[in-house]
């Protein structure tokens, strides 16, 4: 077979460039569909609704400007017609090629049984967005994960530090497209850094000292002695 490809062909051909198109490579299906919340957003915020996509199985994506994310998400949560009380996920996408990073909020309304995906596009030279922990407590660790893996800073986050990578990780943010697959340091340097980590940073004492010195029992009061008052 002439057109049969082996795994080594990709190695010989070398790496391929990332997607270079204008828009993010989302296949928009049935663009005529309407979503009540998006229509309400259009009525109230007007220009703030930058784009509305409907993708696989009728998932509605609405793009809003990143500087207005807190205002719009607060309205989506508190308006009685919307009531998006569940934040399913906060994540981010990097499509590479210098395109802006997208912060993704997956919302769901228990009351109206409605789902909505809100996206904010952040240019690579200004990766800052307002935190939504004040709206949904669930955003706390999710935003930490996005910060850890994409380097997006969430303003007014109560505790913004790395959550998955080691706290002293110095190679950058691994889920970005410009991050080398094997990291920026050599294997030897990575191993050396890993072993010089201070475990007390992210493990409880009880977890580390499981095999530690045997504990001394508390002194037993002798019988007949009067207890101190």
């Amino acid at each position: 077979m002439a057109d049969e490809r082996s795994g080594f062909d990709a190695v010989v051909e070398g790496p391929k460039p990332s997607y270079q198109g204008e828009l993010s490579p989302v296949q928009v299906q049935s663009p005529g569909e309407v979503h009540e919340s998006v229509e309400a957003l259009r009525d109230l915020f007007g220009e703030a609704v930058l784009r509305h996509d409907v993708v696989a199985n009728g998932q509605h994506i609405v793009f809003v400007p990143p500087e207005r994310n807190l205002e719009i998400l607060t309205w989506l949560r508190d308006d009685p017609e919307q009531q998006y009380d569940l934040l399913r996920d906060v994540t981010a996408v990097d499509y590479g090629g210098g395109q802006p990073l997208q912060v993704v909020y997956q919302l769901f309304s228990f009351f109206h049984k409605n789902a909505l995906c809100v996206k904010c596009e952040l240019p690579l030279d200004d990766l800052e967005i307002e935190s939504v922990v004040s709206l949904w407590k669930a955003a706390n660790w999710l935003e930490r994960e996005v910060y850890d893996l994409f380097g997006i800073t969430f303003k007014n986050h109560p505790d913004l530090r790395r959550i998955l990578m080691p706290p002293d990780y110095a190679e950058g943010h691994p889920l970005r497209k410009d991050f080398p697959l094997r990291g920026r340091f050599s294997r030897a340097e990575q191993t050396r850094r890993a072993l010089s980590q201070d475990l007390d940073h992210y493990y409880f004492d009880a977890e580390i000292e499981r095999g530690g010195e045997p504990q001394e029992l508390p002194p037993v009061a002798k019988t007949g002695e009067e207890a101190p008052e």
Binding site: P174, K177, A188
Partner: protein, 227 residues
């Protein structure tokens, strides 16, 4: 009835001997043999299941395969009482210091089994976060190939450890069991050896097999390198 019906062994007076009348009542052996026999038949494994290999390890310890036949009925979840460390599954760089500390906490004599492709070489996880073989961190006695290996393979590896123990001698103890306090929490393999592990696709710092660091016009952001 039962065992108690047997006549108690004659201790006072004429000894019947170990093998019958007229045979000696003692036998000679080497101390090495006795010590190694005791050690290899009471290996207490410290199960360190971090991934799917851990499932196969649990199967090996369960009744179908029954590792208790080999004197391993007690899983030692504390490294202080463990004899053999079974590292089953992939190890991340974040977990590497924990693995090293567990190994340092185990008392001599101790052995280590690297179970599966990921623990032995990094396996398919040739990425920024994964240790490329735990032998860069701790010394390994037996490697098991497979993804994951079957329980029979783990049993075979434990029997290989037993064979290894058989050949140890007490006068080699100072050499075999020497521990360097300065080596604690340091990479076990030297820099060149660890660097070779990222082959055959070249140096990790210069190549990106996913999107290609050199060929795309990604924006260089020196701020990514946190201090």
């Amino acid at each position: 009835m039962g065992l108690n019906d047997k006549a108690p062994p004659q201790i006072v007076g004429a000894s019947p001997g170990l093998l019958g009348e007229g045979t000696p009542a003692f036998f000679t052996s080497k101390l090495d043999f006795l010590v190694n026999w005791a050690r290899r038949n009471s290996l207490w494994p410290n199960p360190l299941g971090t991934a799917c290999c851990g499932i196969e390890m649990m199967a090996a310890f369960a009744s179908d395969y029954d590792l208790a036949r080999f004197g391993m009925e007690r899983m030692s979840f504390s490294p202080r009482q463990a004899d053999v460390l079974v590292c089953a599954g992939r190890v991340t760089y974040k977990f590497a210091p924990v693995l090293r500390r567990i190994w340092d906490q185990m008392t001599q004599p101790k052995w280590c089994i690297s179970m599966g492709a990921c623990a032995s070489t990094g396996g398919v996880f040739d990425v920024y976060s994964m240790v490329q073989g735990i032998d860069t961190i701790i010394p390994v006695d037996v490697y098991i190939p497979g993804c994951p290996p079957r329980p029979e393979a783990l049993i075979y590896a434990l029997m290989m450890v037993q064979e290894k123990i058989k050949q140890e001698s007490l006068d080699q103890h100072a050499i075999l069991r020497a521990e360097d306090p300065a080596a604690v929490a340091k990479p076990r393999a030297d820099e060149e050896e660890i660097g070779d592990l990222s082959g055959p696709f070249g140096n990790s710092t210069e190549q990106n097999r996913v999107s290609g660091l050199e060929r795309t016009d990604v924006i260089s952001r020196p701020g990514d390198r946190l201090p």
